[in-house]
Symmetry: C2
Subunit: 300 residues, 2 copies
């Protein structure tokens, strides 16, 4: 059977796990990885037998591009790739900008007859699907999303972008009812002022609303574990019946799950009409590989 | 704003809770309840101010009919109502016949330009959505569906049909890895032989595969509680990364949740192209009341 040709844009944490998720998917084939020119050389050892290029245009046919870039770089890249007539999938995680980002991509996707599936990770992503379920099962009530304990890639990347930071790790610690502490471990550049760096972190939009503890450490790499988790809880009412208790919990390798969800989203995107979609706008069956009636028989 | 006109067909456990779920929904209005002629009289006390009729044709405009009938009566009723040009929603729960039932309704729905949303309860229903999520998040692994503790209507009805049983209650007790114990409480007829009844229960197709404990009690009604629950568990692999741990758990009033899910399914059905749908074939956002971009902003 035909396999969809996939390109990975970027080769950080998610990019690495996308190689696994694409190679183990029965309906995708990895066409190549797009990296910055200065990183292409390193790829020889890391990516045996996989084409590594500096631009998507160097790859033959690409059906879908997986954007494994920092979220801040995603909107521009997605717009450019859609305009090349290639579907995109990303795990853009800036919740507050999602509606705006979706509005930007929608006309580009439609003009070029392609789809973009955005915010396709686990939060936003699969957690969003769960929040919707909880909401329609019990329209009245409160849903709490409790993250962690685990490393936040988005938050860690945000810290690394601050001048004076050589390396950083941000852990998300749940403190209940949807509140979190951010434990930030930072390796400082020799010339950096710790107080300036600490203030810059605490004023960053990623951190400004949460309790944030910054610790300076000589090395960050030895602290890293990719495990993460979430607990989604809701107590609500169905009709006039209160005390309906709903709970979703997971403990996962973070980039491995994100990459796997992106592959499912790419599959679903290939089945949709041109446009830009968040995961809640696509039928859940479309994320799955397999024949429709067999899926219904085995999963419904 | 316009409210969709809803009719409830049947007035058992689920029918009663559908009144609540429809009356509390901002986008639906209860047009009436359809009952058997012999039950209409009882309705005066139970259903103040709500039209109670013996046929859907007695109600003016109906946009959607909620089938709150025993599952074995649902397929025929759904086909008839769709042919009248009215959308249907049901919580048909015979898993093994779902694909067949869907195939039967699909052409009728299309011919009459209407939608049927079938198997829209919690299992099948919202649990089916969760099983799909688990499957695409970790394509390799095993999902266990653990029901209870709670009352099983299907099993209780099966026991009541056995000669010598005056009343019965069957509780489903999870014993892990998708296996269940059946705790059966029976009120015997005076002339009945307890050993004969116990053997008949244990040999019934509903019970023959499970550990079954039969207890004889003077009265069953005092034991009934509508609470139920489920624990869906999966340990699987995302890409090449194993030990991804996923869990969904709920403790709910059973008919109240079923009724609420049916209202969400009715809403979603009104947004779909003509045809017959299981819940996994509809975008999750369509189950929700509200403006699209506001839902994306608040739930994604």
């Amino acid at each position: 059977m035909k396999r969809y040709q996939a390109a990975i844009i970027g080769y950080g944490n998610i990019g690495r796990f996308l190689v696994d998720a694409i190679e183990t998917a029965p309906d995708f084939q990895l066409a190549g990885v797009v990296r910055r020119p200065e990183s292409v050389q390193k790829s020889a050892a890391q990516l045996t037998g996989i084409p590594v290029v500096t631009s998507l245009t160097e790859l033959d046919t690409v059906d879908v591009a997986f954007l494994a870039l920092p979220s801040r770089l995603v909107p521009k890249a997605a717009a450019e790739i859609l305009a090349m007539g290639i579907n995109t999938v990303d795990s853009y995680d800036i919740h507050s900008d999602l509606v705006n980002y979706r509005q930007q991509l929608e006309p580009i996707a439609k003009t070029h007859g392609k789809t973009a599936v955005i915010a396709a990770g686990w939060d936003p992503g699969t957690d969003s699907l769960i929040r919707c379920l909880f909401q329609f099962m019990t329209p009245q009530g409160i849903t709490y999303t409790n993250f962690g304990p685990g490393m936040s890639m988005g938050h860690s990347t945000a810290v690394k972008a601050i001048p004076g930071v050589l390396d950083a790790l941000s852990l998300t610690i749940p403190v209940g009812t949807g509140l979190h502490r951010r434990m930030v471990y930072v390796k400082l550049a020799p010339e950096a002022d710790p107080e300036v760096v600490e203030q810059a972190i605490k004023q960053d939009p990623y951190f400004v609303h949460d309790e944030t503890v910054v610790t300076f450490v000589p090395e960050v790499q030895g602290l890293i574990d990719m495990g993460h988790g979430v607990l989604l809880e809701r107590k609500g009412a169905s009709g006039r019946t209160h005390n309906q208790l709903l709970k979703f919990e997971m403990r996962i390798n973070n980039p491995a799950l994100t990459a796997q969800v992106m592959v499912a989203a790419a599959r679903a995107g290939l089945k949709q009409q041109p446009g830009c979609y968040t995961m809640i706008e696509i039928p859940v069956i479309d994320y799955l590989y397999g024949e429709r009636e067999e899926l219904i028989a085995s999963l419904v």
